[in-house]
Symmetry: C2
Subunit: 297 residues, 2 copies
């Protein structure tokens, strides 16, 4: 495997099981692509598919998914609690291995322009692929929602690619590139929510802590305990090992033990290697040192 990229499209359909199954099957049927996860939410009326593979294969799967979704979803009748602009609402590409972020941005731009031409749909580029500073954050782009977007296409929401006119049924689409997001929780041997909240505040970027870290303190019920719940927005900037150390040091200073870590979902091999390299103080611990890496497709 030369390059590995992940794609996590959000589709505005979370209720019709047969429709969602057909979308999942279409991804699975794409040679060289693995569907790693799918979740659907009835209230949000929204499904999220996570799949990975070499860039060409992932692009093919995503075109197929869009074809399916545009055939099935009509934004004129779509209702759901989650903000959205289109039938396929957002398509983030994530470089996992053998690929720089710049290459992934190029991929997102190329893909977005293909979608614009193929479907005559307005395309916005976001995150690392954003072409304007006010389009870096997804919520900022999505704010008017589908219902309010038509009126803004000539002013604040001129598309980055495609026509200045909504697709009659599919609305608009947001395409981007972003680092892999790791959701990681650390459970403390304590029921002191204030402690978990203080640690979260100290380590999160928004209050001057570690870069590319979001954190909150939570209470768990069974057994009763508190947890520092984190998103690592870019583990090459702040790693799992670093947040573990920082949370442990602060808990320990308060006389509280750290009980366990919890990783949500799948993570890329490089993030695991980083933890091992940090723990054992290894120089240059690259994936080719792992036997299995020589057996990748």
């Amino acid at each position: 495997m030369a390059k590995l990229v992940e794609c996590v499209p959000n589709v505005s359909e979370g209720r019709r099981g047969d429709v969602i199954d057909r979308m999942a099957d279409a991804i699975r049927a794409t040679e060289g692509v693995r569907l790693l996860d799918r979740t659907s939410d009835v209230d949000h009326n929204r499904s999220v598919f996570t799949y990975a593979g070499e860039p060409d294969a992932v692009v093919r799967a995503t075109h197929t998914l869009i074809d399916h979704a545009y055939r099935e979803v009509d934004m004129n009748t779509h209702k759901g609690e989650h903000p959205r602009l289109g039938a396929v609402d957002v398509v983030p590409f994530v470089p996992l291995a053998g690929m720089t972020m710049d290459e992934c941005v190029d991929l997102a731009h190329r893909f977005g322009r293909e979608v614009a031409t193929r479907h005559q749909v307005p395309v916005y580029f976001y995150a690392k692929a954003a072409m304007r500073p006010e389009r870096v954050r997804l919520p900022d782009i999505r704010k008017p929602e589908y219902e309010g977007l038509a009126a803004l296409l000539e002013t604040t929401h001129v598309p980055d690619a495609g026509p200045k006119q909504l697709h009659p049924t599919a609305g608009a689409i947001v395409v981007g590139a972003r680092p892999f997001l790791i959701a990681f929780n650390i459970e403390l041997d304590s029921t002191d929510l204030k402690l978990a909240q203080r640690i979260a505040k100290e380590i999160r970027e928004s209050s001057g802590g570690l870069p590319a870290v979001q954190a909150k303190g939570f209470t768990l019920t069974d057994p009763p305990r508190v947890q520092v719940s984190m998103n690592l927005l870019d583990h090459t900037v702040t790693s799992l090992a670093t947040v573990w150390r920082e949370v442990e040091a602060r808990a320990s200073a308060a006389g509280v033990k750290v009980l366990r870590g919890e990783l949500i979902g799948l993570i890329p091999l490089d993030a695991v290697l980083q933890v091992a390299a940090d723990s054992l103080k290894l120089d240059a611990f690259t994936r080719d040192r792992v036997i299995e890496s020589h057996f990748l497709e």
Copy 2:
């Protein structure tokens, strides 16, 4: 990939480059097998090949290697410093993933019997595949060497498979199954060899330390420092994380910092996952949580 096994045959030829290259090429040419390492030593007149793949593929590669070696190496004229019994001296199979040690022992027995029949060569089973307690340790089997073995074939060295008679040119062969061996060094911020030797003694199994750990203290020259050099004979019994902790605690108690770890060669994914799981106190951190594991051949 359902099962992954490694094989590390030692061949009694370390001088004729063209012969050794042909053996390496034969392994490489076997579909589904990756040659991970090869080293040859002129003084020992011996080469070690490391390769892995699914069990059937690895067995095929090893038969091919033996065919080549038996054609090229004549034990009647072989000289070298390293003790040996045959043209292909020892063939250890190592379960890496998806395979128990018992299954690997079965594989070694089946393979050894095939070799005995195919080449009419005496076969000894060692390590986990040993059929007698005095044949667990390789040096015990190898003690008489090729030159002394013929006289012992009816007494102490009755083969476990094959004829009670040396192969006219290839001698005998030792086949076995053993856990993956991890060679791991830890460098201390000190020039105190006695400290490194004391730590090594405290942690190694032979002097009552950690099970399945061999350790020695060494001096490094540039820059001058000491090192605890270890073999983890079974990382599922004593892990990298455990030896790191034990060495660090002892160095720290002597006021000495641990500078860096050094892994020699390649290691299996499971050993890396184990380090990450230990560092982050993760429950059940299995290989299917790593995205790349879904792209194994």
